[in-house]
């Protein structure tokens, strides 16, 4: 085990090279609906239990199933209204279980990235080949269903190994949503030297945290998202920022929540001159082509020897 993940160098939020998003925009805005399938009776992972109660633990299972029956359609319709394309964090087995949802998203030219096979199959304890097989399965499955080559990853249920980031770089991925150290994209260190972008995907503004960890109401969450945007917009004048709203249809798509969320999309997309409404892979591609090398040089220059406390 490592004392430090070693995936990036410390890089303070000042004196960084300026990012200017396409069209001179200040904030790159993307929305990440997690479209997930949770199994009722998954095999046991030695390091993490799927459900708290004995099988069949129907309450947490059916709570999540609500998204695929009800919530998804409400969220998708609302995003259509504001011209926001989703970047989907996808349990790729959804391509088999509910292709109707995948087809509806593909028809809207939404982006798909991998969130594992099922959100009840954790990566903990896998060897390198097993973990790589999850990535290869994801690439193949989404390509066969939609024709789209996936470029991003968010580990299923945020379960990682020390190999995860390198495996992404080795398999043609452009970005990872797994790390939460920043509000701007940045290069990750990879063994094979391939470019890989750490994409901001904030846990703190994730609807799961808002509703089920912090106990906020739909209105409080909507206000929080607007404040998040206001700050990132202000800072984006100095150097472009990224705002992601990670969502779950089984949470945001409930009858009492989708209305207040509408105000958020309305508010953010009304800042037309300043906001680049986009997808994660478009941000990653732009960043790799225009900002990556300069960032690497700036990070290298920012490194100074650690001080001794003596």
């Amino acid at each position: 085990m490592k004392y430090d993940p070693g995936l990036y160098d410390y890089w303070p939020y000042e004196n960084r090279p300026k990012i200017t998003w396409p069209g001179g925009k200040k904030v790159a805005f993307w929305v990440a609906p997690n479209i997930e399938f949770y199994e009722l009776d998954p095999p046991a992972n030695p390091q993490r239990k799927s459900w708290p109660r004995p099988h069949p633990d129907i309450v947490p299972y059916s709570y999540r199933d609500h998204g695929n029956r009800v919530g998804h359609w409400r969220l998708m319709e609302m995003m259509d209204e504001f011209g926001v394309r989703g970047s989907i964090s996808l349990s790729v087995a959804m391509c088999q279980h509910h292709p109707e949802i995948i087809e509806a998203c593909a028809a809207r030219n939404w982006e798909f990235f991998s969130h594992g096979i099922y959100n009840t199959r954790y990566i903990y304890g896998m060897d390198r080949a097993q973990e790589e097989s999850i990535l290869l399965d994801s690439i193949k499955t989404v390509e066969a269903t939609t024709g789209q080559r996936i470029r991003g990853y968010l580990a299923p249920a945020l379960t990682h190994t020390e190999d995860t980031i390198d495996l992404l770089a080795e398999n043609g991925f452009w970005y990872s949503c797994d790390l939460f150290q920043d509000d701007q994209p940045q290069p990750l260190k990879t063994k094979n030297g391939n470019k890989l972008v750490s994409m901001p995907y904030s846990l703190e503004v994730n609807d799961h945290y808002a509703f089920n960890v912090y106990g906020q109401s739909a209105r409080q969450y909507a206000d929080l998202l607007k404040r998040q945007f206001d700050t990132l917009l202000e800072e984006g004048a100095d150097s472009g920022t990224v705002m992601c709203i990670p969502l779950h249809a089984y949470l945001i798509g409930r009858a009492h929540r989708i209305g207040p969320f509408r105000d958020v999309l309305d508010y953010i997309t009304s800042h037309k001159d300043d906001v680049w409404v986009t997808t994660a892979s478009e941000i990653a591609e732009f960043y790799m082509n225009n900002c990556y090398d300069e960032a690497l040089a700036n990070i290298a220059a920012a490194q100074t020897p650690a001080r001794e406390a003596s």
């Binding site: 309450v59 709570y63 304890g125 106990g215």
Partner: protein, 307 residues
Amino acid sequence: MSLPEDYLKYPHRSHGMDHTLYPWSNLMDRKPVKWPDDKSVALWITVALEYFPLTPNDGPFRAPGHMVTPYPDYRTFTTRDYGNRIGVFRIMKVLQKLDLKASAPMSVEAAKRYPALLEAVQKCDWEIIGHGMDMNHIHYGGMDADVEEKQIVDCLDDLEALTGRKPQGWLSPARSESENTLALLAKHGVEYVCDWVNDDMPYPMTTEGGPLAAMPHTMELEDRQLMVTLGQNEETYEEQILAAFDLLRQEAKTTGGRILHLSLTPYVIGQPFRIHILKSVLSKLVESGDIWSATGGKILEVWKQQS
């Protein structure tokens, strides 16, 4: 280190669900339902009348709301008892004034011990739903099927003997089911189950014991979930119920009648400092002129006629 090969095999990876209890279905694509008098939203109120013994049962887990401290947990026991003595009567008063119906999931033990409460419930014409013997009698995966069947049959028989009516609906204590619960409920004539939280409308289930309907008895706007578990205040509780009503009403215009389910817990909403918000929110719903108040059994009946 590696995981067993089976961990990367996916035997249920095919169209639909990973079980046979119900097929996948998109709510927005279903045949629209029409409620009586063309109301947009059926208001379904449930009031939980539970009995928590002072001696909690931990096999295999303790029901939410159960005793917390070492024995004897007088503080929790009496707080729950407050609901059945005081809180529920405040709720009744509010509902009666607004002429609103309700369904009450009731522990057999509460029905037996408190004849006056049972009488009051019947006087309000609330529908009684099976809710197990008490909050110690949990249904759980791996339990003996004969034991479970006896638990269910005893509960249904006792409620029928006490009230003169066999319960149409069922809410498992702690919403917990075994792999046999649904089949046993269907086998013994229960028409609808309230444990599943994956839909906003009823939907049919298939079990080895026969057909059954899942009713949308959600946790989303439950007083206990919002104001106790999540620590929200009364105004926030009301605001979210009204937001849900607005959305459902809107949706009803294009995709058919909807259900607004409110789960009330007498020891939560029945507190003197909270009861005003129930009065306030229900009055607003009634004033909209766009709700149909009914019991779960009645809502199911109207839904069944059209699907």
